[in-house]
Symmetry: C2
Subunit: 344 residues, 2 copies
DNA sequence: CTGTTAGCGCCTTCAG
DNA sequence: CTGAAGGCGCTAACAG
């Protein structure tokens, strides 16, 4: 059996018209119980499936949501997507995944593709520095919702955690542990708001506690273990070496820990280290790592909910709801000098 | 601007017909250079985007691939999907993600949905015990390709690692370390081939080395840390407690390690532990864990390649190519009694 | 080189 | 209650 069966096929068999079949299959009330049953049975026996593509073309609604993330194989983004999927599936939506690979051009291509695919909305954790390209989406009247890496734009909703507060909490925690020379590793460009905000939180926490902000303590990296190691090399070439490091990425923080150990430094006694994201490995590794939890799965669910609310709102106006989740400080052995109860 | 612009809109502006516009935009040669330019310019100025939905309906080809996985937020499945995406994107395909949550019914629903969406193929890591439902896919003439958790079916390609050999290698390694009472934790039903095969490899390795296979040493779990702990409790209630544990899941193995430690047992001196999948945390954790690498990203790429080959084959016959990748034994501290050089 | 026509599969008026 | 006709956006013959 090769050809897919359409409502015409089953109409022909029953000597009725396609309209009748359509009505029977869609719960239209203007139809006799007898023919409805008949249609349903033959449809089943002929292994009929509605063609959603035709439906989508007709209705202008594809029931697909495009999701753009830098990459999909981290626990964070995987979990966000899981949250989105779980929340949206019951409403009949499907999600199309695109990876930007942290590349602005690729992200733009992804947007083009998704628009062409007639997605009903785009959820995005952006890697772009400017936001002009997003107007293409809005001009097409496609709802755009940012999660995690957002841009501030009117008419666009977003779901994020309070990154400023996360940066502040992490830094204050280091100060409370007695650190006075605290470095910050920014795992992305400050044009991306989350990295900007985490840095601002860091800076403000220093100021509020009478500690000077020093440019040489702020290093930009990419989010990788190796760049964490390189950053340590750079920091420890300074005259005044840091005694605390706040990294905006768990992966970078892991590299930091590895490099510090290689240099024979004790953690947290000599240097305290805290990351960001609560990736699972932070809890399992040799030295469990303090970090900031972002609740990715819930972030995904919230993103989906914001969308559902928006399309169900009367007139489907472009509301811009800014949902800000509270991050949570997770304290583990990489920052606590008084030994915690042995883990595990 | 709300309404999306179609080729009719731009045809009207230029006083030509839609067919001309279509030709101009698609590199058809039967058209004058002048009108082509004109069309292209006005198309651009009107912010025109081709509607892929219409194209898909017309051509019967959606350029979408459905991918079904148990869950998306593990490194393994995330990486497979990344591999698929990276390989397929350049060919203009997009992927639609579905999660089965390890539930046969949900998986069936996913299949139905994907068929209705007119996907050009379905890639699946199945959670189903029987394979009858997959005939729906084939009867619709939709290519089906399994990866990782496959079913053996004629006319269906698959990309897997050699799980039998992985189980064999893991078990033999434990034996070589001097273990004689080796338990196996199967993190899934034997009706799913990978778990069956890993167990068979385990069994054969025992036999080949003159060790009796004992049913009480084989425990079925779900893939979670807590069930790993529970399994240890069960095993250590036996009279002859195991001195080696091969788990078919890294997560379960992690639970095993945690529980063994809680009981004051030394790893690997008292009990050696090996997992399966090479999830990143296995390398970072307190006691680095031996495991089997499955090369998930490459598995994704291969799956995509098998599909591309298939659709490019003359006549697009249903070939069933069975690609079997070689797993790799990763030896770390959880099994090596002679201390390795201090890691990190 | 360009216009006309038909149709992909479905739904939705409008008649009967 | 059911049939006929039109259209969603696009392409592919077939004419001219």
């Amino acid at each position: 059996m090769v050809k897919k069966t359409t409502i015409y096929d089953i109409a022909k068999v029953l000597n009725v018209t396609a309209a009748t079949v359509s009505r029977a299959l869609n719960g239209n009330k203007n139809i006799s119980e007898a023919t409805r049953k008949l249609v349903e049975e033959t449809a089943a026996s002929m292994n009929y499936r509605p063609n959603k593509l035709a439906l989508a073309l007709k209705s202008g609604k594809s029931n697909n949501i495009g999701v753009i993330v830098p990459r999909i194989n981290t626990n964070f983004f995987g979990s966000v997507i899981r949250g989105i999927e779980d929340e949206l599936n019951p409403s009949g939506y499907h999600i199309i995944i695109c990876q930007s690979h942290n590349d602005e051009t690729k992200e733009l291509n992804n947007i083009e593709s998704l628009i062409n695919l007639q997605v009903d909305a785009i959820f995005m954790s952006t890697s772009s520095k400017n936001s002009k390209q997003f107007e293409k989406i809005l001009s097409k009247n496609i709802p755009l919702i940012f999660f995690d890496r957002k841009k501030t734009m009117s008419g666009v909703s977003s779901v994020t955690i309070d990154d400023y507060s996360g940066g502040y909490m992490a830094t204050r925690h280091l100060i409370e542990q007695g650190c006075t020379r605290i470095a910050h590793l920014a795992s992305g460009d400050f044009a991306i708001e989350i990295f900007h905000d985490r840095h601002e939180g860091y800076r403000q926490a220093l100021i509020d506690n009478g500690i000077d902000y020093r440019e040489e303590y702020v290093i930009h990296t990419r989010s990788s273990i190796s760049e964490g190691k390189a950053a340590v090399t750079e920091l420890f070439a300074l005259d005044e070496k840091p005694d605390g490091i706040f990294s905006s990425s768990d992966f970078v923080a892991l590299g930091v820990i590895q490099e510090l150990k290689a240099r024979g430094l004790r953690i947290p006694e000599d240097v305290s280290v805290i990351g960001f994201a609560n990736e699972p490995f932070t809890d399992f590794q040799e030295l469990s790592m303090s970090t900031i939890d972002q609740f990715p799965e819930q972030m995904g669910r919230l993103t989906a909910k914001v969308f559902l609310e928006q399309i169900e709102s009367p007139g489907m106006v472009q509301i811009d709801k800014k949902v800000v989740m509270k991050p949570e400080l997770i304290i583990r052995n990489s920052t606590i000098k008084k030994k915690l109860a042995e883990k595990i």
